[in-house]
């Protein structure tokens, strides 16, 4: 049972990692509007 739980937890972790790697590059666009309202070089 312990070995099975370890296997499932390992798979769960790697599913998360794969999700991060496959995730889209850019974050939400609306934030750029906030940023544009501020001096970005400060």
């Amino acid at each position: 049972m312990d070995a099975a739980l370890t296997l499932v937890s390992m798979i769960s972790f790697f599913v998360l990692v794969a999700t991060w790697i496959a995730a889209p590059l850019r974050a939400a666009e609306p934030s750029l509007a906030h940023e544009a309202a501020q001096p970005i070089a400060a």
Partner: protein, 413 residues
Amino acid sequence: MPESVISAGDTAWLLTSAALVMLMTPALGFFYGGLVRRKNVLSTIMHSWFILALISVQFVLWGYSLAFSPDTGMGIIGGLSWVGLNGVGQEPNPDYAATVPALAYMIFQMMFAVITPALITGSFAERKRFKAFVLFTLLWATFVYDPLAHWVWGTGGWLRTMGTLDFAGGTVVHISSGASALVAAIVLGKRKGFGKDAMDPHDLTMVVLGAALLWFGWFGFNAGSALTSGGLAAQAFVNTNTAAAMAGLTWMTVSWAVHRRPSILGAAAGAVAGLVAITPAAGFVTVPASIIIGLGAGVVCFFGVMFVKEKFGVDDALDVVGVHGVGGTWGALATGIFATVAVNSAGADGLLYGNPQQLLTQAIAAGVSWIYAGVMTFIIMKAIDAVIGLRVPEDEEVLGLDSTQHGEIAYQL
């Protein structure tokens, strides 16, 4: 093993120390977060926060096994017998800490594994893609930190067998992160505008708060490494505070002489440099020696930072190489100079106590750590660059990583 072997005092101290060391990683996030420009503060804090979660799981699943399970031969790496903490339970493991549950020792070590890759993030701040950072951290922890921890602290580890003294991680934590930071900064390249535009810290109050919490947590890092709650912990505690204080005073003084101002940033960075340098020596040297180690750290780290950036032109954004690489190396060598069995009978005498061989041993361990961490970091960085790319596009770097990588901004002013 009989239950009476467990010491309530030792266990309480080690678990408390683990909690203190845990605090250091978000503290590092604030220390680094204050040092960057405000458009990158969240992405910088996120590095430390994310690593705290990521390595907490990695270490349970396979990191602890690779670092601390019985050696697979030649002292290079542990096995997979403790994957998922199989066999790591409430009974002590006398190979590591005979008076505390094996789980307490594991969680203490986990916090070291967490903060080490977080230290490196200071070198690639303000320009690295988040997903590249995630993959780098996972690979670096597995192929650099875990083997190094095994070499120095694991049963059968080859540097441990050779007689290397590293009380709390001068080689495993600080030299490895400093060397990796140097390579990472070179491979990633300079920030846009480096050397031309002002890149001043956006919030020094945040920097000092982070440094203060690091200093506080470092008592767990070093005094906790005694693994008992007795005299050796007290010795390491006092040495840690003394070296931090002396290095802070020294860096500020050198900075005052060079830049004509007593800088709060210098006083804070100096204290961190002293904490780094005393780390390998904390449980092996006398209190007066810790003053000398702190003094040396304040000087060599100050000039280390200057040389890396101004002479070599490496954009080590938040001075990881100068503070952790140089400070860790000084600490490792200083341990070989000042160590005495009068402080810790399980240690060894250093150069000043008639044993020059110890200094040579320390130099070998430091050199090997620099080379291994540097080469492996180069390989990992190049591999990630080839597969998913390391660096954000130039327009995103100009806008800042907070908005482009995370879709958030820190201050609604």
